[in-house]
């Protein structure tokens, strides 16, 4: 069964500092990989996704993520964090080559941004 681990429950960074949120997955093959953001009272919003090709993917709001097959990781990064980035971030995987369409999510990382 596939699983997703986000080892950091809570991260605090200063505004303007760089950010890296970690995500590791367990899956028999390379899954489809996603990062979502959830702000209070808002639905989950897709930041970026990786299916194949270039292992560094760009997303919305200045976020990027790098897929590393050898580490089974898909870490999310941003060079300079803004106060509006404070939210909860979820890494998710989708099954490749099967009939399964459900996403499997990690438990999330809550980002706090200090002024």
């Amino acid at each position: 069964a596939q699983s997703v681990t986000q080892p950091d429950i809570h991260i605090t960074v200063s505004e303007g500092a760089s950010l890296e949120l970690r995500c590791n997955y367990s899956y028999g093959a390379t899954p489809y990989l996603f990062w979502y953001v959830q702000s209070p009272g808002q639905g989950l919003q897709l930041l970026l996704k990786y299916f194949s090709g270039d292992t560094l993917v760009q997303g919305i709001k200045g976020f990027e993520a790098e897929f590393k097959r050898s580490q089974s990781s898909f870490n999310l990064r941003k060079p300079s964090v803004h106060w509006s980035d404070a939210a909860e971030y979820f890494c998710a995987v989708g099954a490749r080559g099967t009939g399964r369409r459900a996403l499997t999510f990690g438990s999330g990382t809550r980002l706090q941004v200090q002024p």
Binding site: G43, L46, R101
Partner: protein, 116 residues
């Protein structure tokens, strides 16, 4: 255009009662998904529909949970004999189709269910 909407936004009920949660997907989206998010956790899959039929209900925790999508648009998640452990945020998502897990799922704001 309008996103995925869910009603009610909050539902408080008593243990043992029956509840219905509604989801209106994005117009034209044929695939619809239900997830449940407990406090401090990521969303967990419950069921998904392609059109009117439930294509995968493997995430439903037990037979108290049931979902329908009779006309291939609006869906209702039904929970019988609610238990305190059912308290969670129930999320609905839709995608253009379910031809592949690549299709982006668009999420609604959720219904927060509290069982007293």
């Amino acid at each position: 255009g309008a996103g995925v909407s869910q009603t009610p936004s909050n539902k408080v009920t008593e243990k043992g009662k029956y509840v219905e949660l509604r989801c209106d997907p994005i117009s034209g989206h044929t695939a619809l998904y239900w997830y449940r998010q407990s406090l401090g956790q990521g969303p967990e899959f419950l069921i998904y529909f392609q059109g009117t039929g439930a294509a995968d209900d493997s995430g439903l925790p037990n037979d108290r949970f049931f979902a329908v999508r009779p006309e291939g648009s609006v869906s209702t998640l039904k929970i019988q004999r609610t238990e305190r452990g059912d308290s969670a945020v129930y999320l609905c998502a839709s995608s253009l189709s379910a031809g592949t897990a690549q299709n982006e799922q668009f999420f609604g704001p959720g219904t927060r269910l509290t069982v007293l």
